[in-house]
């Protein structure tokens, strides 16, 4: 062997890799890790952005869907309120005193009580 040189190894036949003095061993493996991390972060950020975008879109779609649902329920509510009013109107018409009296007198044969058949007592006499 000739004079000692900062050769730390032989990479291959006839190829020498020179390393500057002071260079720490293991540097190659750390750079790879950093690069890996770098790529992962980019991908991660992209995914995160995509997820955010998807969430944003989903949220909008959800709100719009809820809007449709709300309008549908509002329509149903209005319809039921209307139906209730119609039924109350019909009940009101059916309770018309002329109709009630006709049914009572003609169909059921009811009569107006004769004087004396209904006795009303003064309140003061009711204990």
């Amino acid at each position: 062997m000739a004079q000692a040189s900062p050769v730390i190894g032989v990479a291959g036949a006839g190829v020498r890799i020179a390393v500057r003095p002071g260079t720490r061993l293991g540097g190659r493996s750390r750079r790879t890790w950093w690069e890996w991390l770098n790529s992962v972060s980019i991908v991660g950020l992209c995914l995160l952005f995509l997820a955010g975008a998807l969430f944003y879109v989903w949220q909008h779609i959800y709100v719009v869907r809820q809007g449709y649902e709300l309008e549908r329920l509002r329509g149903t509510h209005a319809k039921l309120v209307q139906e209730n009013k119609m039924l109350r109107l019909e009940a009101g018409q059916l309770r018309s005193l002329r109709r009630v009296e006709e049914i009572a007198r003609i169909r059921l044969g009811m009569l107006t009580p004769k004087p004396g058949q209904v006795v009303l007592l003064p309140e003061s006499t009711i204990q």
Partner: protein
Amino acid sequence: MRARILAIFLILLLGLSGIGVKVFGIQIRQGDRLAERAARQYLRRLPLVSRRGTIYDRAGRELAVSLRVSSVFAEPAEIQDPAETARALAPVLGQSAKEIQTRLTTNKTFVWLQRQLEPRQADAISDLNLKGVGLAPESRRFYPRQELASHVLGMVGLEDRGLEGVEVLYDDLLGGKPQFVVAQQDALGRLVFRQDEPAPQAPIFDVHLTIDEVLQYIAERELARAVERSGAKTGSVVVLDPATGEILALANQPSFDPNSYKIASSAAKRNRATTDYFEPGSIFKVILAAGALEEGVIRPTDQFFGENGAIEVGGVTIRDHGKYGWISVREILTQSSNVGAIKIGQKLGKSLFYHYISGFGFGSLTGIDLPGETPGMIRRPKGWSGLSLSVLSMGQEVSVTPVQFATAFAALANGGTLMRPHVVRGLRTQDGTLVRRIEPVVVRRVISEQTARTMLEMLTGVVDEGTGKAAAVPGYSVAGKTGTAQKVDPATGRYSHRKIVATFIGAIPAEAPRLVILVAIDEPETLRWGGSIAAPTFREIAQDAMKYLKVPPSPPRDVRLVHAN
């Protein structure tokens, strides 16, 4: 290689510049206009159906309610085949296809084809799915009890505005102004979001009437029977609570159904009880006697000579129904003696009589909360002729409305106080909170309690033994007065013997009146006396009303209730 790259770069630059120019044009130059156009496409202005307040009777029974209905409209420019559209609509709308087609071919951008459809019609039109034909929501007023209290309620027109009665007088409080809400819609026109509904421009109230549905029904039923039985032209009944001036029933004949007011005649829609005046005739003797008693110019037992049934005043002979000799004030009222009334009038004098006539409210509005009230007519004493005092004592040369006379009589029934009659009892918000109670309003004291009591006592004689026997209600004492007033024939300008107004006014039970009932039958063909048509009508109404109100019968006259230990 470089040249190629340069070429591609230039092409891209050119393209991007083109896009840039277009973007500038769209965003900057036309931005506002396009934004507005876009907003118009995705924003829709929805009409909100107005929420007109409900009208209730005094027991909270619905008398007028509003419901949402549809009206069908057309946009003629959108219709490609008007003939075909008209043919499809004709059977649903019940109109001729030709008529509809004429309206579909106008130059207008919007035409109503039919307002306020029945629900089945709206469904049928919706199913037809015709281009250029649409349905718009509107509010429609319904009166579930049909004709009941129609003259008090009035009616509402197509634009949801009151036209008559309480509907027009309380129009602003019942509300019903058109309102809109803005909503977003998608490309298919489906609604996605809407803004919160705006607060009504003015608060909307429900109106609670003093009218009682049952008493109103009884009054209407009996009035219709009386008018039919006597072949009369018209008639009115007013039932009021003398203590408060609350109108419990107000009926007129002819009447109408406010649900279909358009087909009713103006005569049927006329609220005669407040707008028509008539010469009261003998019922006016009550006012004369009350004034004379109050002034102390007469006492119930004072005797007047009946002149054997005829008296000459100012060159005119006025006759009585009977040849009366000496009769008391009480008998003058029970027998309705004209000669006796004239003598009381002469004793009271012009100015005092006028003082009481105006004091009881004649010649001025009662202030009832219904539109179109008339004040009646009474001349000032300066304008009276030599005959005026005498004929006024018999109820001529003065005209009154039914509500006016019922109010005046109520002053006798409540101890001498003239009350303002009213038909609205209170206003509530739509959640039922009472916001305004209409309190009874005392107009003035007209006579003392003592005079009022004496008058009622004398007037029970009219029903017990006088001209108003037909008004007697078994079990109850009634204080009342009949009237049969001749009408002036417009053709001759003289009092007609054929045309009369038959009236009866009474308070029941006489010892503590709960009701004052006035019955006026105009121009009856048969049963032409107040005692033969108006008095029995009073009896029928009063009898049912006492049962309904559960008023205990009057104590027998000769029995006094005492506490027994």
